[in-house]
């Protein structure tokens, strides 16, 4: 059961893994989706594949690489445009936002802005996309913001002196930091907006899932460990977390709605570092600073 006349849900990273499975679950629940993907041809093929399976629903794709703040802003504008063009004007808002796009990289890569890529894609992109789409989410049912975090957010801390991990970068350290950032962002979002806007944020822990996030740009030992872990018995197919992720995003009633950290269908408890309000507001200020609109200076 879903909320009545719910607007389309925006989901980033919709062409593979949990993202693609969640798009399918949302469509199956009778919710339209605007998905964001990096690769135009993969977007096209998922759009066709799911369009055939759910012909009564509307699925739109926005092609964008969420690595830079400029691209995130462009993606948000494209979402707003698409919403206006393809959806009924009575549904002028969004039904929800799923910040799902994430990556892992063995070597330290940076975005065009020079930001460490896991921090930029896994955290900043979701932070900024939420801000940009907030007016549309408020006009929605109102929509929820669900950020896909991970149990990896435990036993780590934000490196305040060097959040871009210029020194001592390892793939796991950067990944854990970015997933902790997801939890802190969620907590701070609720503190700032939940009461005034009616939009609530959740951090979703999908558990160990068989996807190839850890294999896309990793090599050697990390690649091997990731493969073994994601192929192990404890790992689930992406459809399982996808079902719960879709429910968390659009179901009218969820159990214990005040608990912002969710482990599949249950309310979980985030790590102590993820519950620290000082870290949360500090990360918020840093993220705002890093996402500021640029003022051009040319000589």
């Amino acid at each position: 059961m879903i909320r009545e006349s719910v607007g389309p849900v925006v989901l980033s990273g919709g062409t593979s893994g949990i993202g693609k499975a969640t798009v399918a679950c949302l469509l199956a629940k009778g919710v339209d989706v605007i998905a964001i993907g990096r690769d135009a041809s993969r977007c096209r093929s998922v759009e066709i594949e799911l369009g055939v399976r759910y012909p009564e629903r509307t699925l739109g794709f926005v092609v964008a690489d969420l690595g830079t703040t400029g691209e995130v802003r462009r993606a948000a504008a494209a979402v707003a445009r698409l919403l206006q063009e393809r959806w009924d004007h009575s549904l002028s808002g969004l039904g929800g936002l799923v910040n799902n796009a994430a990556m892992v990289s063995t070597w330290r890569m940076v975005t065009d802005e020079g930001y460490e890529k896991q921090f930029a894609v896994n955290h900043l992109a979701g932070f900024l996309l939420t801000h940009e789409l907030l007016p549309l989410l408020e006009r929605g049912s109102p929509g929820r913001v669900v950020t896909v975090s991970s149990g990896s957010h435990r036993h780590t801390a934000i490196n305040w002196r060097d959040p871009m991990l210029s020194h001592g970068y390892t793939a796991l350290r950067a990944y854990k930091q970015s997933k902790l950032a997801n939890v802190l962002f969620t907590a701070e979002f609720n503190r700032r907006y939940a009461r005034t806007s009616g939009v609530r944020a959740y951090a979703f822990d999908p558990g160990l899932v068989r996807t190839d996030i850890g294999c896309k740009s990793s090599s050697g030992l990390e690649h091997l460990v990731w493969r073994l872990r994601s192929r192990s018995r404890g790992a689930s197919a992406p459809e399982l977390p996808a079902r719960h992720l879709a429910s968390l995003t659009v179901d009218p009633e969820i159990e214990n709605p005040d608990a912002y950290y969710r482990e599949l269908d249950r309310a979980g408890v985030a790590d102590r570092a993820g519950r620290d309000p000082i870290s949360a507001s500090r990360l918020w200020a840093l993220s705002e600073q890093l996402c500021k609109e640029p003022a051009p200076v040319v000589l």
């Binding site: 020079g114 210029s166 740009s217 090599s219 500021k292």
Partner: protein, 287 residues
């Protein structure tokens, strides 16, 4: 007093990392590269993260006009510099006969002339009495004659040799530090190249940010040469025991198969700041 660094080839992988390193140490920046879009994005990122002033302009350093234009722009703005970081440089894929003559000359212009001309100009525009910190980017390839990368390796040997010589000549006015790195993981292509080498690729590769930090520290301390990674230093030491003609023949065989393959594919330009490691045919694209 605030100091400013001029960084050429700033939009490439190593250029970005060095720009961040200098900014994180409180330096104002002047960035140049050949394309506008990426410079603008980088400048806005650096400014948000660090409280420094970042100026930029585009320049084609392969031409006399481009270099003169850049120097004129800087002069007109009345800027003074504490550091010059010559990152602009590139390699072309493909064997010698597969490249056209103009592109060979253009490569030498950027890799060799640009750094020299800017060093000459900026020594005059340095900030106060402090020596100008000059950082030149050579490569491990600078130490070897490299078949299939002959022009690139020789141009880097020029950078290495002139850096060491000018360092003595300019004592008091400038310190010259030269970076001789192996491959660095900056683009998906580079990652593939590093992966393709297996263990050797992993051992010789260093994160660009770590290389940048080592380079910055060496420049501030006035050290002559930076070779990141102990395994690269060992490889270099061992290779010095081998006579140069034999070394060229060995490297030629290692690179040869890749060179043959490349002759059949269209030539492509590798972005700024490309380094090659003699131990790694695939690292040609890394940098």
């Amino acid at each position: 007093m605030r100091r400013r660094a001029l960084i050429t080839g700033a939009a490439g992988g190593l250029g970005k990392a060095l720009a961040w390193e200098f900014a994180s140490r409180g330096w104002d920046l002047y960035l140049t590269d050949i394309t506008k879009g990426s410079l603008e994005i980088l400048a806005s990122g650096v400014k948000r993260a660090h409280a420094v002033d970042v100026l930029w302009s585009t320049a084609d350093l392969s031409s006399q006009e481009g270099r003169a234009g850049l120097i004129a722009t800087i002069c007109a703005a009345g800027l003074k510099f504490g550091a010059l970081v010559n990152v602009a440089g590139y390699d072309l894929e493909g064997a010698f006969r597969g490249r056209d003559q103009d592109s060979l000359v253009s490569l030498m212009r950027v890799n060799m002339e640009a750094g020299l001309v800017l060093t000459h100009a900026l020594t005059e525009m340095r900030d106060g009495w402090e020596p100008l910190r000059v950082v030149n980017i050579a490569s491990l390839a600078a130490f070897f004659p490299m078949p299939y990368k002959a022009t690139y390796a020789a141009s880097k040997a020029f950078v290495l040799s002139s850096s060491l010589a000018l360092r003595e000549e300019l004592r008091g006015q400038a310190t010259v530090t030269v970076l001789c790195a192996a491959g660095m993981p900056t683009t998906p292509n580079c990652l593939e190249a590093i992966d393709a080498q297996g263990l050797m690729g992993r051992l010789t590769t260093r994160n660009t940010s770590d290389v940048s930090r080592a380079t910055y520290n060496a420049a501030i301390r006035g050290r002559p040469v930076v070779i990141p990674g102990w395994i690269n230093r060992v490889l270099l030491m061992v290779s010095r025991l081998v006579p140069k003609p034999l070394l060229a023949s060995l490297l030629g065989r290692r690179w040869g198969t890749t060179g043959e393959r490349e002759r059949s594919v269209p030539m492509s330009v590798v972005q700024s700041s490309t380094q090659g490691s003699p131990a790694s045919p695939a690292a040609r694209r890394a940098g």
